[in-house]
Symmetry: C2
Subunit: 287 residues, 2 copies
């Protein structure tokens, strides 16, 4: 979901607190159809939307899927897209409850998700001066895959896998909420731009330390990794005293790395060995 | 929403019973962009999705909107589409709570809706032999507008209005539920095809009487009116003893007309002066 607000719309219905989000993927805009198989296209579209629920620590319940497919497609190709959607849903114990299938000349997958909020949602706006900024996983894989494809190369398997099959961090998001997370966002634009979203929503200053950025095996450049988009990892502001990273890794098999600090002020700063450096120029977005 | 099932997915979360649906509109597939203004495009996409809630007698609460728009569009054109969506939402006291805006070469509006079910949903599957089949409003306007456009003519204002600004029949749907409706569907494919959906879901036979079809002012041919799609009127199976049509019209300023009968058996029959006639050939769907 886009917008200056949070990753999800939050809604109270009766005694229930719900989170809703929607994510539109358009073939040859968000991905080249030739990069992925049809199952991956469905999986990835659903994972992007489920990641929005992870970012507010909501428990996914239901997905609705709109799919436009070429009239020339064989039936089973549509089924493959839907299998991928179903696989992403099943990975977080949610269900595809409905959808709309239309004919069109462009592959479109739009996924709306509904989740249940627990005790409290974690918003972008809760970061306070003194918090540490932490990130799940290792960054730069999707950006490296995109770089390779756009250069006419074949990305290595690990980078391709990170692009094609991002895991929505639902259980890690709930765990981080329970450990006192103040603010959270999923990395769809990239660590650097999404850090700005936390800073703006929380009216605080955020700094990132380049040498702390955990790099994916296929990535070598921290400055590229901080603008690698569609990572779907979580960026989380945790109280200074947080010291459960090893427990997190033991539980989820996933790194949790402190990459920066929240302070009074505004905006975001990128530091290399303690010195502010220019932000990376441009984002490697596929047009 | 498409599919052999109901117009909405029905979901229980805690003590709440919810209805969800999604409806994808793609420019130059579902409508030619030149036929409508941008506000109407947004309104119509939202109304189609809200009509699914009306068909199960759910009360609309929230809408999510995915919008893909050309990068060459001025900002205010995107705003016009969203104003139309907001207008449809406001007409049934619901709110647009979030969305996703992306750039693309094709106008796409996908609207997911969430509603609350009252005492009971009205499904397609509840019709029983002896029920009367009733339809709200007057039919044939959208079909006549489509016919005119496809013939290179300009539709009259009343037909164009029915195409551009269908009213989701939310309050009428709730009222019909409270008066004992057994089954309901909104007319998106058209009266004749949607009657088949009721017959199939309820495992009953349905007959429609051509001379009873209430025709819109711009329509002259009942056989064209029964395949006029995107009417977004309600087709409802009501107990034989139902006799509140005048009260309905007084309340909603809308016709409620008995058009047929439910019997034991299967399938749908079209009757002219009591004699079965061939169904209309083909549907006037815009390709």
């Amino acid at each position: 979901m886009s917008g200056a607000g949070d990753d999800c719309a939050l809604l109270e219905i009766g005694a229930e607190r719900l989170a809703l989000s929607i994510d539109l993927s358009v073939g040859d805009v968000h991905f080249r159809v030739s990069w992925l198989d049809y199952r991956e296209i469905g999986y990835r579209a659903a994972a992007a939307s489920l990641s929005d629920l992870a970012a507010v620590a909501a428990t996914p319940v239901a997905l609705l899927v709109s799919l436009a497919a070429s009239p020339e497609w064989p039936e089973d190709r549509t089924a493959e897209v839907m299998e991928g959607v179903g696989e992403a849903a099943a990975s977080v114990n949610a269900q595809v409850v409905g959808g709309d299938l239309v004919r069109g000349d462009r592959l479109i997958v739009d996924v709306a998700v509904l989740g249940r909020l627990g005790d409290r949602p974690v918003l972008r706006s809760g970061a306070v001066p003194g918090d540490g900024l932490w990130v799940t996983g290792r960054l730069g894989g999707p950006g490296e895959a995109l770089r390779a494809w756009l250069a006419g190369e074949t990305p290595d398997d690990a980078a391709r896998e990170r692009f094609a099959r991002p895991a929505p961090r639902v259980a890690p998001g709930e765990w981080l909420r329970d450990r006192g997370a103040h603010a959270m966002i999923d990395l769809s634009d990239g660590l650097w731009p999404d850090t700005h979203h936390i800073a703006a929503a929380s009216t605080v200053a955020c700094s990132l330390e380049l040498e702390r950025i955990p790099l994916h095996a296929s990535a070598t450049d921290a400055r590229a990794a901080v603008v690698s988009g569609e990572e779907y990892e979580l960026l989380v502001a945790l109280p200074e005293e947080f010291n459960h990273a090893a427990e997190f890794t033991g539980r989820f098999g996933l790194d949790l790395t402190r990459v920066g600090t929240v302070a009074a002020g505004s905006g975001a700063t990128l530091l290399a060995d303690g010195v502010a450096v220019d932000p990376p120029v441009g984002f490697r977005h596929f047009k």
